[in-house]
């Protein structure tokens, strides 16, 4: 089997984008002050964050902003009340969350809201019971979750729902055996994972499916060796970066999920990742248990 071309991926990442994950242990190659200052410029007067300066606020980017600040241990630059108020205002009567003021509802936004508020230690500012009830209403006939009640099971949505339930201490609502089986059935002949039955495998599902399996204690139900081989086969070992499947073009999205997936599989040399918060374990420990050495 091949190896993880870690240094090449770092080079690729730096060549593409400002925000970076810490898993390759190279966070210090990025200027944190610059990144933090840019992030704060993306904050809207409502307290939410946009995808770039001048963009309207959205729950997705608000979570990303808070996660990046957490990575850099700079959560103290935030006016926590402001961000909290932005998020809680997006909870609807039925417990669901809208992504922004225009009202789009999706369980992805339930996850964003819950994860973000948990990091900020303000989960009590929303109606958690209703939020959980809404997520549970999105459970499907095969034990998975969709974007809204009645929608098809999809590994991405499952990650969001399981993550939100994990963070709120509500995993007892899940039939772990049934869902675990559905998730491990996502592994196809190539060793890769797909997101729904009869779809193509894609490296990003190494994150969505794997993190879900870990949260429900069923990750040993997939063939880890075969999945590792699949992810490594998706690398561009010359120029760095990881693609959705072998021989396709790389992008930053699949590079992140490929590396994160390998971290969840305990690939040597990578930091451990928290499956619910999608952050390194040492960062999560720092948030909830105070200063730890990184």
């Amino acid at each position: 089997m091949g190896e993880l071309a870690g240094d090449k991926h770092v080079k690729y990442i730096l060549s593409v984008e400002k925000k970076k994950d810490n898993l390759l242990g190279k966070l210090d190659t990025v200027d944190s002050d610059e990144v933090v200052s840019w992030i704060l410029q993306c904050q809207h007067e409502s307290g939410g964050f946009g995808g770039n300066i001048g963009h309207d606020p959205h729950l997705l980017y608000t979570l990303s902003a808070v996660q990046v600040l957490a990575l850099f241990d700079k959560l103290d630059v935030l006016d926590i009340n402001k961000v909290t108020n932005y998020i809680r205002a997006l909870q609807n009567e039925d417990g669901s969350f809208s992504g922004h003021i225009w009202g789009e509802v999706d369980t992805r936004f339930s996850y964003c809201a819950i994860c973000c508020l948990a990091i900020l230690k303000r989960l009590d500012s929303i109606n958690v019971e209703k939020a959980v009830r809404y997520i549970v209403s999105c459970k499907t006939l095969d034990g998975g979750f969709g974007c809204t009640p009645g929608a098809e099971s999809h590994a991405g949505q499952i990650f969001c729902c399981v993550g939100a339930l994990a963070i709120t201490g509500s995993l007892h609502h899940i039939d772990k055996d049934l869902l675990g089986w559905w998730l491990c059935e996502r592994q196809v002949k190539s060793g890769g994972l797909n997101g729904r039955p009869e779809k193509l495998s894609d490296v990003c599902y190494s994150w969505w499916v794997l993190s879900s399996l870990i949260m429900i204690d069923r990750v040993h139900w997939i063939d880890k060796e075969k999945l590792i081989k699949f992810i490594l086969d998706c690398q561009d070992t010359e120029n760095g970066g990881i693609s959705d499947r072998p021989d396709d073009a790389v992008d930053i999205f699949h590079t992140y999920f490929g590396v994160a997936g390998l971290s969840l599989l305990e690939y040597p040399g990578l930091k451990a990742t928290d499956p619910a918060y999608a952050l390194p374990v040492d960062v999560v420990n720092r948030i909830f248990f105070g200063r730890c050495s990184t």
């Binding site: 060549s15 593409v16 984008e17 400002k18 990025v30 200027d31 610059e34 990144v35 200052s37 840019w38 410029q41 946009g50 995808g51 300066i53 001048g54 963009h55 309207d56 959205h58 922004h100 225009w102 009202g103 789009e104 499907t140 006939l141 095969d142 969709g146 974007c147 809204t148 009645g150 929608a151 098809e152 099971s153 999809h154 675990g180 089986w181 559905w182 491990c184 059935e185 592994q187 002949k189 060793g191 729904r196 039955p197 009869e198 779809k199 040993h220 139900w221 997939i222 063939d223 075969k226």
Partner: protein, 338 residues
């Protein structure tokens, strides 16, 4: 009102700089503020940069005009994922008093090249809401067109489910599911939609009323392709929490038996029998023999029912080695409960 459907054509015609266009006279473009020392300077194309510079200008001055509407069309054509542009477009449309049907046509143009774009679908829903129940058939037709290109487009299915629940149009939905499954019986989205229809359609009577005919439908699909995961899950879903009903419907274990006898693609048939055994199912001799005949010689003899569950797990561990750990766990579960 300025035409809102120009974005489709823009991409193909040669780019005319906005600075030269009379409709944008007097607009001072606002460049992107990347800060004093950008970490990464993205190499934007000229048309992209100019379009966004003009967009920023009209957006920051909150100009809700026909030329703003045109500009959002251009901005969407260069980056349909820019949700701020879509937000602004909605503000402009409301201020101008939009022709909502024309706006639907605009979104169809965008959908042709970006059928998986979240902002597009949300915008389409927002417009359809304005039109109300009259829009139902057009929305169903729109998603139908998308499914012709990609019958599993998750956004389109989400939209279609919303349309049915908010605007109506349930009458032909079960037939549509049947049609899609005829084209591709492995389409899990279509199976999910079928379940959605039989459980929620106001004209069908609900799951209990539909169960009987749907069991036959699912079993027919199973026999055509026993390796197809979807109809097996659908079949199980028809019984939901009603384990007694599931155990006592002889069609279910008969279907499993028929698949086992064919001696190929029997994974889901075996796992279904395993589930049934776990709930107290008493298999007849024919089923026991069929399972036994699938065992390879080194697995030894099957005896009692618990041995039967054990046998099934052993067979599956060999048949489906990728999930060997899962089947080992099922074996442990089976023996600890007997």
């Amino acid at each position: 009102m300025a035409s809102s459907s120009s974005s489709e054509g823009e991409g193909r015609r040669a780019w005319v700089p906005l600075a030269s266009r009379p409709e944008f006279a007097g607009v001072t473009p606002l460049p992107q503020d990347d800060g004093p020392s950008p970490v990464v300077a993205i190499a934007y194309r000229d048309d992209f940069r100019e379009t966004m510079d003009y967009f920023r200008s009209l957006y920051s001055s909150r100009e809700l005009s026909p030329r703003s509407l045109l500009l959002t069309s251009l901005a969407i054509s260069v980056n349909p994922a820019n949700y701020t542009v879509w937000h602004f477009r909605r503000q402009v449309l409301e201020a101008l008093g939009a022709d909502w049907t024309e706006e639907l046509e605009f979104t169809e143009g965008v959908a042709k090249r970006n059928a998986k774009n979240y902002q597009l679908w949300h915008h389409r829903r927002w417009v359809a809401e304005k039109l109300g129940p009259d829009a139902a058939s057009r929305e169903l037709e729109f998603t139908r067109k998308i499914f012709c290109l990609d019958a599993k487009n998750y956004h389109a299915w989400s939209h279609r489910q919303w349309v049915l629940q908010a605007l109506g149009g349930w009458e032909d939905e079960l037939d549509y599911c049947a049609q899609l499954l005829e084209e591709d019986v492995f389409n899990n989205s279509a199976w999910n939609q079928r379940y959605f229809v039989i459980t929620k359609s106001p004209s069908l009577g609900g799951l209990n009323a539909m169960r009987d005919s749907e069991v036959d439908y699912a079993i027919e699909a199973i026999h055509a392709n026993p390796e197809n995961e979807s109809p097996w899950r659908y079949l199980r879903g028809l019984y939901n929490d009603e384990n007694e009903a599931w155990l006592n419907d002889s069609r279910v274990h008969s279907a499993c038996l028929r698949v086992l006898k064919a001696k190929r693609n029997f994974k889901f048939a075996l796992s279904t029998l395993l589930d049934l055994l776990g709930l107290g199912f008493k298999p007849n001799q024919e089923i026991k023999d069929a399972i036994t005949s699938l065992r390879t010689s080194d697995l030894g003899e099957a005896g009692s029912d618990s041995d039967l569950a054990n046998s099934i797990c052993s067979i599956l561990g060999l048949e489906d080695p990728m999930r060997a750990n899962y089947w080992t766990w099922r074996k442990q579960q089976a023996s600890s409960s007997s």
